[in-house]
């Protein structure tokens, strides 16, 4: 099914939400595993987001201009003896898309659970 441009599926909204939360905590850009961990913490899920789902969604968000990515300096990774990480940062369009997503979901949540809406 084709989606409306600018609309988000729940996983995409979770990724942007997690990245913004990490930014609030001082992490300007986050790599895949950090995002997966943050999503798990925020949603209380038992499992971390699957590799395939996470990286496919990240690519989609980047292509839509809602995230931007950059690779870390290979020297840093080499010094620490680990693979190079790719970092993602939420763009202004990403923030707007999440705000719009939240605004669209709010009336639906209200109608489903009257009086129990939490922001």
């Amino acid at each position: 099914m084709r989606r409306k441009p600018g609309s988000l599926v729940p996983l995409e909204a979770s990724i942007i939400g997690a990245a913004l939360e990490l930014r609030r905590l001082g992490q300007d850009a986050a790599h895949g595993f950090l995002l997966a961990k943050e999503i798990q913490a925020r949603t209380g899920a038992r499992l971390l987001t699957a590799y395939g789902s996470l990286y496919k969604a990240l690519e989609r968000l980047e292509r839509a201009g809602l995230l931007e990515s950059f690779w870390e300096d290979p020297l840093i990774a080499a010094e620490e003896g680990r693979p190079r990480r790719r970092f993602y940062r939420v763009t202004l369009a990403g923030e707007r898309a999440l705000a719009k997503h939240g605004a669209e979901r709010l009336p639906m949540q209200r109608s489903m659970r009257p009086g129990r809406v939490t922001l």
């Binding site: 950090l34 499992l47 971390l48 395939g52 496919k56 680990r82 693979p83 190079r84």
Partner: protein, 208 residues
Amino acid sequence: MSRARRPPLAMGLVHGWVRLYTAGLPAELRDARREEVAADLWDQASDWRGVEGLGASIWARWLLGIPDDVTWRWAHSRTGHARRKEGAMALARDHRTMTIVVAAVAGAFILGLIALQVVSEIEYRRQVDFAFTPDWRPLFAVMGPVIVGAIVAGFRFMRRAPALGAILVAAGSIAVGIMFYWMSVPLLLALGLSWYAFRRARRMQAGR
């Protein structure tokens, strides 16, 4: 993860799976995905508290993500296929144009030889028989379709190869003029047609 700890079997399996589904993709895309998943696995293993459950978590993340990996691969294969197809079509177009040019030159050469043979034959007949009136119909029967074909092909090629199109139209039109050299109208018509063909080709190229 403690550096000395042996990575679980699941990690090797995920590495192998990523190598498998990214095989054959453009190097940049392939390496980016491989490196990204490798970094994720490393981070997950180093972040894990204790040894228990790490393998199960990796297995679960891998298995649940397989449908997305497959659709991701399929989407990128399709994009790559479309790009390759476009390149092959451009190559085929160039190849076809070259084939037509070579065929046109070869055809003109052969027709020239035939025409020369026919004219020599007629001259010989005239020398031996003063009452001989040449029958030009066979020559026209051969040359007519070729000339018309050249003009039509010229117009058809105009968008892709304006110069080639104009040359074919001009060659066909001038041939009409030469065959009917005793008539000035076809020659003027030929020149007019060639000029029109050239102008039309330029307009088509400019997208007007």
